[in-house]
């Protein structure tokens, strides 16, 4: 081995021990080790075996207060609301808690498929609420608050009593009571990796449906199983306006006007309202969680001082004017943006 080569090796070893511990000489100067604090800040996932679950505790009683202040506006007081998202709780029974299989998934005894009917693992609820809820202010809850909220939802589903203390240890018992804990199967061919027998998931990619490619006289008759129902004919706006005006075909003229907000581009204030999360709770014309903007404009028409009080209301939140559901404080929006939005609402906001 020549001296030249040896020098290279020595240099490589030196680089490996000093500074960056990243292993590829080829990519010198790229990437750096993460600090422990950095990993802690971002590594928030919780697995079904509770790896990653922070210590803490809570119960349904405390959970109810947080729920009513921060969650009920979208999900309803009993997590039953279907207005913003599918109901979170409902459709599970005492029997399901025993068997670990939700009967309503087979016998259709419940109109929706709620979160609690499907979720097999309690870790999933903890992980998701912690990372993503409340929807307009994710990652704002403390670990204890997340424990309390999970306890609240589990109590609504009668999985645990209201004084049950949920913590990093007792959550393991709760897993054994999850109504759909035995409701999943991985026996399918749609995992793109090793099979279960080789440390992966599923059957190793074997498809469940086997069709053949017949070419001639493949069947005696054509059975039409379904056609577009009458009520759906016009539900997607005017199809003539959704097709190119040149070529071998044209769009069919259908009756209904284009759906609200379906058009691309448009009003910068609508974009601002969308960006700031206002549109999650307000439609332009219609109520979602809060009143429609045009309803608000109509209510305060001709009241010169309304803009100032509405500014305060949006900034600080509040309830009672339109119903029991509160609007959370919109502190993440700058003052002058709130003013612009209120001005836009008052002057008859349009959907496009």
């Amino acid at each position: 081995m020549s001296r030249f080569c040896k020098t290279l090796i020595v240099m490589a070893v030196a680089a490996g021990t000093a500074g960056s511990a990243l292993a590829f000489d080829r990519y010198q100067g790229i990437g750096r080790p993460a600090t422990a604090a950095e990993v802690q800040a971002w590594d928030i996932d919780v697995r079904p075996d509770f790896a990653g679950l922070p210590k803490g505790s809570g119960d349904a009683i405390r959970g109810m207060d947080i729920w009513e202040a921060q969650c009920a506006s979208c999900h309803g007081y009993f997590a039953e609301s279907n207005e913003v998202f599918t109901p979170l709780v409902g459709g599970t029974t005492k029997e399901d808690i025993k068997t670990g299989r939700v009967a309503a998934l087979v016998n259709d005894s419940f109109p929706q498929r709620t979160t609690m009917m499907k979720v097999p693992t309690v870790s999933t609820l903890w992980d998701y609420i912690n990372r993503a809820m409340p929807w307009t202010a994710p990652k704002s809850l403390s670990a204890d608050e997340v424990y309390s909220l999970v306890a609240f939802l589990l109590n609504l589903a009668e999985v645990i009593p209201e004084d049950f203390e949920l913590n990093q240890d007792s959550i393991r018992e709760v897993q054994e009571r999850m109504p759909n804990r035995n409701g999943m199967t991985t026996d399918h061919g749609m995992w793109p990796g090793a099979s279960a027998s080789k440390g992966g998931i599923g059957n190793g990619g074997k498809p469940d449906v086997k069709a053949t490619a017949c070419m001639r006289d493949c069947k005696k008759e054509v059975v039409l199983a379904s056609a577009l129902p009458e009520h759906a004919q016009d539900a997607h706006g005017n199809l003539a306006e959704q097709n190119r005006p040149v070529g071998g075909v044209r769009g069919v003229q259908t009756g209904a006007p284009a759906a609200e907000g379906a058009q691309a581009g448009g009003d910068p204030l609508l974009a601002l309202a969308t960006e700031k999360g206002c549109m999650a709770c307000h439609g332009v014309a219609n109520k979602i969680v809060g009143p429609g903007y045009n309803e608000i404009a109509a209510k305060y028409k001709g009241q010169a001082d309304a803009a100032a009080s509405l500014f305060e209301k949006v900034k600080n939140g509040g309830q009672g004017t339109w119903g029991a559901i509160p609007m959370p404080p919109q502190g993440h929006v700058k003052d002058d943006e709130i003013k612009q939005l209120v001005q836009w609402i008052m002057s008859g906001a349009k959907a496009q």
Partner: protein, 445 residues
């Protein structure tokens, strides 16, 4: 014979706003075959004088020079970022009314009915967000690697864009594409039935190269968690086998420019052949682990309900599927005669090897032409000649991939999976053509 001067007086595409109040009323009354008649009248009214005195001489569109032939056009860079023609405004992303309740957790569908070839224009790429979309400052974006690695590491965008890059064309399809149609026909056009798919050229770094740098434990670490930097911090479990194959990319480029914010600017995961939810947008973190994570979008959603009440979990591959995009639901054929029936085929397991087309609802089939390029886990364009004789027809396409898998009919798919699975509906699509030329969505078993 195609080129004969009798055709100068034939049905013409009607001008805009040619519909009378009566016509519009007739739609409202449910008479849906009026359009072709309206074309006929509008065409006749326009054509009559032209045919009478222009017949010997020719078409006024040729004989009377149009303004654009007699003027100076617009200067360069009038649109610094170019825009489609003003005549193309109909082809935009659209939501399906009533599908979701709030547009921050919703879908906008790609207008497949008007697209050509296999590449989706970036501004028309379908969108699926769970917690709205964000536009991230690329200089403040970081990618962290942790878990079963020797060195937990952080990469800036500068770091990633200095590394050797690859560019690859792949489709991305939402697992719920065609999900509204499991039980019965629900939507009128291919935009809403199949528009949660797009295909782009993605540029980035194979995730394998980055994991190698960090000293990933490939023996124990057979699963990887990908996590987003947005409010939802979406998470999904990815198989290490796919990463080891070099297919999985950490991508910043799309169709020659940076990713669009709606598609994850400045960084997203590309997981070829796998449903879109795994292509985590605004990617901030990759964790190597020894078990899957059962995240919200693999324990509550993106699970397929089977008739026995069990859900299939971690069902990720998008199986072989195809659809005719022209002519398709909600369109009207202009006239009898020749058409280029055109569509898209794809497979999450590899290359499309063949597409057959039927015009009689699946009794007889003919093999279509596959246009180049035919790439693995990418959209493939197919075309086939068709002379419409003016009689009712049912158009279908059926794709096959290089594993030998054949796209199933609704009857075959439902026999195994029932009708409530929501996800992974890859059944053969049928479009019914009636005498008026109108095309509509139907299902054939």
């Amino acid at each position: 014979m195609a080129l004969n001067d009798a055709r100068l007086g034939r049905v013409k595409p009607a001008p805009e706003n040619f519909l009378t109040d009566e016509d519009i009323q007739s739609v409202k009354d449910g008479r849906r075959d009026f359009l072709r008649k309206a074309f006929l009248t509008a065409g006749a009214a326009m054509a009559a004088p032209a045919v009478a005195n222009a017949q010997p001489a020719g078409d006024p569109a040729i004989l009377e020079l149009p303004p654009w032939s007699k003027m100076l056009g617009k200067p360069v860079a009038a649109n610094p970022y170019g825009q489609p023609s003003m005549y193309e405004k109909n082809l935009v992303r659209r939501e399906s009314p009533g599908l979701t309740r709030v547009s921050g957790s919703s879908v906008s569908f790609c207008p497949l009915q008007g697209l050509f070839g296999i590449i989706t224009p970036s501004g028309l790429h379908f969108e699926r967000h769970h917690q709205g979309w964000v536009d991230i400052d690329p200089n403040k974006h970081r990618l962290m690697i942790n878990g079963l690695v020797k060195t937990n590491a952080v990469f800036t965008m500068d770091d990633l864009m200095r590394m050797p890059s690859v560019s690859r064309i792949h489709f991305i399809e939402c697992g719920a594409n065609t999900g509204m149609e499991w039980g019965n026909v629900a939507v009128p056009t291919v935009q809403y039935s199949h528009g949660m798919i797009s295909c782009s050229e993605f540029t980035g770094v194979p995730l394998k190269a980055i994991l190698d740098m960090c000293g990933a434990d490939y023996k124990k670490g057979r699963f990887v968690l990908a996590e987003g930097a947005d409010g939802s911090s979406m998470t999904r479990t990815i198989s290490m086998e796919m990463i080891e194959s070099g297919e999985v990319l950490v991508a910043y480029g799309m169709n020659g420019e940076m990713l669009r914010p709606e598609n994850g600017y400045p960084l997203r995961l590309v997981v070829p052949g796998v449903q879109g939810v795994s292509w985590v947008k605004w990617l901030r973190r990759i964790e190597v682990g020894d078990k899957p994570w059962a995240t919200k979008d693999e324990a509550v959603h993106y699970i397929d309900l089977m008739p026995d009440g069990l859900h299939r979990q971690y069902s990720s591959i998008q199986e072989c599927k195809s659809v005719i995009t022209t002519p398709s639901g909600g369109q009207t054929l202009l006239d009898k005669g020749f058409y280029n029936v055109s569509g898209l085929a794809w497979s999450g397991r590899g290359k499309v090897t063949r597409v057959d087309v039927s015009t009689d609802g699946g009794i007889n089939w003919r093999t279509a032409r596959l246009e180049t390029p035919v790439l693995s886990k990418a959209l493939t364009r197919f075309n086939i000649d068709w002379v419409w004789d003016g009689k009712p027809a049912i158009l279908q396409s059926r794709a096959m991939d290089d594993t030998g898998y054949v796209q199933p009919s609704y009857g075959q798919l439902r026999a195994v999976r029932g009708t409530k699975s929501i996800y992974h509906n890859n059944a053969i699509q049928s479009w019914k053509v009636v005498e008026s030329g109108e095309v509509s969505n139907v299902q054939v078993l």
